[in-house]
């Protein structure tokens, strides 16, 4: 195959630098001992230490983790069956379902936020953990279904058919063939929706109650009151956590693609 044209490589490389430069600046500054400005005053982990010593910060981190974990688990619980049902039988129900599953992913996020806020307030549902978990599920559930469906579509239906032909009950087919084959995609979907939930700001911002706060909300309120090195450290932590989750889900995904998809291989 012909080599890539020089200008493409040059401009593509520059765009890649553009994508990463701000993130690297942020991480660099979070390790800077200087309290003001960008001048390098030596390596220091003091801003991270300061964050860890702040109970409010730990509480926000715990809240974030609880909300992300709960909304991810519930989304998986509902999403796995939904994806299987959507992929294996097309009907009037499923095309409606597909529409309401794709919509939350394409409308502007601020709409979800204000719509949920009004629903909760008008129905007198208290704002707090519950409202945040529900809010996150509105985008996590569709995300899970979309990812799992993409995987189901790539799977060879012959395995399920063979099992059925050999007299396996639908339940047996599901637990012995479909779910084991789907397992890597389930992990991938879980990691991604966990990341999205951990990182979400807009929906959380609208449906958060006065009591519970999450890490992104904390970042926002800290930026508003004044930029300190602690914000950089907290932001850098969030970036690293998302990078790890995404990297992990990516590895799972690649493994799944590399394996010849057989039910026994996982």
């Amino acid at each position: 195959m012909r080599r890539l044209p020089g200008p493409i490589i040059l401009s593509g490389g520059l765009v890649m630098v553009f994508l990463y430069f701000p993130i690297l600046v942020l991480m660099g500054l979070s390790l800077n001992a200087s309290t003001m400005g960008v001048a390098w005053k030596g390596f220091s982990l003091q801003w991270y230490a300061k964050l860890l010593g702040n109970p409010a910060m730990i509480e926000a981190a715990v809240n974030s983790l609880i909300i992300a974990f709960t909304s991810t688990s519930l989304s998986l619980l509902l999403g796995i069956g939904t994806a299987i049902r959507l992929e294996q039988q097309q009907s009037r129900h499923t095309s409606w379902m597909m529409a309401i599953i794709v919509l939350p992913l394409v409308i502007p996020e601020i709409l979800l936020g204000v719509a949920l806020l009004m629903l909760f307030v008008l129905c007198q549902i208290p704002l707090g953990f519950g409202s945040m978990i529900i809010g996150h599920m509105v985008f996590n559930l569709p995300l899970t279904v979309v990812i799992l469906r993409a995987r189901l579509r790539k799977m060879d239906p012959a395995w399920e058919e063979a099992a059925r032909d050999l007299g396996a009950t639908p339940w047996k087919v599901l637990t012995c063939i479909t779910l084991p084959m789907l397992r890597p995609a389930i992990w991938g979907a879980a990691l991604l929706s966990f990341t999205v939930s951990l990182d979400d700001f807009v929906v959380t911002f609208f449906v958060a109650g006065p009591g519970a706060t999450t890490l992104p909300l904390k970042v926002f309120s800290m930026i508003k009151t004044g930029i300190t090195p602690e914000v950089n450290a907290l932001s850098a932590i969030l970036v690293v956590v998302s990078m790890c989750c995404v990297g992990l889900s990516w590895i799972v995904h690649q493994r799944a693609n590399a394996q010849s998809s057989t039910p026994s291989s996982s």
């Binding site: 942020l26 069956g81 294996q88 939350p104 629903l119 639908p170 990182d199 998302s242």
Partner: protein, 286 residues
Amino acid sequence: MRHYSSHVFPLPVSFSFWAAGLFLCLFFLLPLGVVLGVSLASRGLYGGVQWIGTFENYRRLADPMIGVIFVRSILFASLTTLVCAVVGFPLAYMVARASQRWQLVWLTLVMIPFWTNFLVRTYAWVLILRADGLVNSLLLQLGIESEPLPLLFTDLAVGVGLVYGYLPFMVLPLIVAIERIPPQLEEAAYDLYASVGAMFRHVVLPLSKPGFWAGGVLVFIPSLGAFITPYLLGGGQKMMIGTLIQQEFLVSRDWPFGSALSFGLMGTALVLWFVVSRTSLGKDVQ
């Protein structure tokens, strides 16, 4: 697509299907219905909702002050989409046509910002652009400028932030579209003595259209409703629809008008999404 007539699903599968449907009806469709309902109601004396039907809120959308904000937002979103397409294409082409091993590396590098905290990525630009930020410190140190330039809280900052924030949304669909173009077509063009430029103009760019459409929607819709970027990088002075909606809900507490604005935003986004999905669907079928 698999079709099974009279397919029997295990109970948990059917249960989760219907439960998911119920969940999305209750917490996605119903809230949108609430937005519609409230947008037709009146504002209460102390900021609540008074259920007196009126079209007043929609009439206020035609107010020149609001019109300016809508036009600004559409302009920003269009420019962002255009710049993302121009900037994203070389990267997408590079990734799509890389050797298998490099492709994995590049793809991972494009995926990571896609899933990384949007708020934090926007905030990073505050650090670069503010008065004692990276750019100004460099300019002062090198003696190019004697005073810090006002970079933050400008239209340029908002534009850069939007492009930066949504660029991965353009690049990923473009990669998919370019990968679908058989490399033989490019070879054929070169064999017929096309220059590199002519090959791109006549082969790759026209065939990448579905990617441009998909990426365009994925960039345009969120930039139209962007809230974090104009707030952090624009300083919230020059409003966009997103910041205006936030203000109506959390500051002015005029829910009915905020709802009408939200519906205006959703209408614009949905019409666009519908038009484009028809267009790119036609392309796919072809």
